[in-house]
């Protein structure tokens, strides 16, 4: 779905159109910030900065059809500028509020028990290279398909498909490397598990 008409109305001064755009997109904007921000940066503060820039700088957008790519670039820059402003190295090896410095070590094992399975997957996803982490996280946002992610990242859809496939494989390898037991002991002697997966998907 194109945002061009809403962007055009927002540029013409229609405040409700601008607010509608923000409501429609702020969830994935927050995800982009999460993918690029420093561990200790407050997600809410960064999201507020993006909101301010959206209000003040939308007029700089020359091509309304590229609104999503522009908004994503704003979010990435807000996250990077915050990291530079805070004067420490950007980090992509830790999840906000969760230390995952050495996920294969004893510390991670202790933290894992406290954290639970669900956060563990997100924590490992945060360790992926940003090129893979960002589309993987965006894919986990409700309703964002590969085409929408391609538009946001300003990349061909085939590139997104490849990156998602690699990201999933890397995530699985990292999780398996975490010295955990296999998902389920034993090996089925028929492909019923595949049928189950197919039904669920």
């Amino acid at each position: 779905m194109s945002d061009s008409s809403s962007v055009a109305r927002a540029l013409a001064g229609d405040r409700s159109a601008l607010e509608g755009l923000w409501r429609d997109h702020r969830r994935w904007v927050a995800t982009v910030l999460l993918a690029h921000k420093r561990q200790d940066a407050e997600l809410e503060d960064l999201l507020q900065e993006v909101a301010v820039i959206l209000v003040q700088r939308l007029a700089d957008l020359r091509d309304p059809s590229r609104f999503r790519a522009w908004l994503r670039a704003v979010a990435v820059n807000v996250a990077r500028m915050a990291a530079r402003r805070d004067g420490a190295r950007p980090t992509h090896e830790a999840l906000d509020g969760v230390d995952v410095v050495d996920p294969s070590g004893e510390r991670a094992a202790r933290a894992e028990h406290a954290r639970g399975e669900i956060e563990r997957v997100l924590a490992f996803a945060m360790r992926l290279d940003p090129d893979y982490r960002e589309p993987l996280l965006l894919r986990a946002v409700d309703g964002l398909g590969q085409a929408a992610i391609a538009e946001i990242l300003d990349l061909p859809e085939t590139t997104i498909e490849t990156r998602l496939a690699r990201a999933r494989r890397m995530l699985r390898r990292e999780l398996e490397r975490d010295a955990r037991p296999p998902v389920r002991p034993g090996v089925p002697d028929d492909p019923s598990a595949l049928r189950l997966a197919r039904d669920i998907a």
């Binding site: 607010e19 301010v52 997957v121 595949l194």
Partner: protein, 235 residues
């Protein structure tokens, strides 16, 4: 043919509900040959579900961030915004003015110390609008502290005043107490002190330039609307 597709891509298409019948058949054949394939697909499916749940929990915990009230942001009326360093000074009007003044004279005074030629109306600093010259390169072809300009652009937050052209030297109205930033012992036993000087200065400028983002989010220097200085929403 689909048996040649690598497993991650096949899995990904299955998870995305984009797998064709032929690809599902290929998956099934592989699962017959090696039942662990089905387990691996299940593990991927589980990862997807847990990742979505975790992200949803993270985003749902985030308060609704609404848009701020507009402050003359429309096309052709770009408001100047001070960088966040102003907050260090308590964000009072005087402190903000101090920082703004310091920003305006920063390049001018550093040029004077370095003995560099200060740009004038006759030799304006090129902006990003002038694609044939880089930032900081003068119209007459001479390089004008290009490294420093490039650094100031890449480091400056959006909305910062990146440069100003002035014919007169600034006048210091008041100097505030210095802010200690860092101390470090030197090899010869002395102490190197880094501090932030805060001065309220006034200066008449001919032109100013600010940092904005282009469509790709890259910092770009453009001429600033001087009339907007007086109505900056922070000041």
């Amino acid at each position: 043919m689909n048996d040649t597709i690598d497993e991650p891509l096949l899995f990904s298409r299955a998870l995305e509900r984009r797998a064709s019948r032929a690809e599902w058949d290929a998956l099934e054949r592989r699962a017959h040959d090696d039942p662990r394939v089905a387990l691996r697909l299940l593990a991927h499916l589980r990862d997807e579900g847990e990742l979505s749940l975790a992200l949803d929990a993270r985003l749902s915990a985030l308060p609704d961030v609404e848009l701020p009230a507009p402050s003359a942001p429309q096309r052709g009326a770009r408001a100047l915004r001070l960088p966040r360093v102003a907050l260090l000074f308590g964000a009072t009007g005087w402190a903000a003015a101090c920082v703004l003044a310091a920003l305006l004279v920063l390049r001018v005074t550093s040029d004077e110390r370095a003995g560099a030629t200060r740009p004038s109306r006759a030799a304006p600093v090129a902006t990003s609008h002038d694609a044939s010259r880089g930032v900081g390169e003068r119209a007459d072809g001479a390089t004008h502290d290009a490294d420093a300009d490039a650094r100031s652009v890449s480091d400056a937050p959006v909305g910062a005043v990146a440069d100003a052209l002035a014919s007169d030297a600034p006048t210091v109205l008041h100097e505030f107490p210095r802010v200690l930033v860092e101390t470090r012992e030197t090899d010869d036993g002395r102490v190197e002190v880094t501090w932030l000087r805060r001065a309220l200065e006034t200066q008449t400028v001919d032109a100013a330039f600010e940092v904005v983002e282009d469509e790709l989010g890259r910092p770009t220097v453009v001429p600033a609307d001087l009339s907007m200085l007086a109505v900056s929403d922070i000041l």
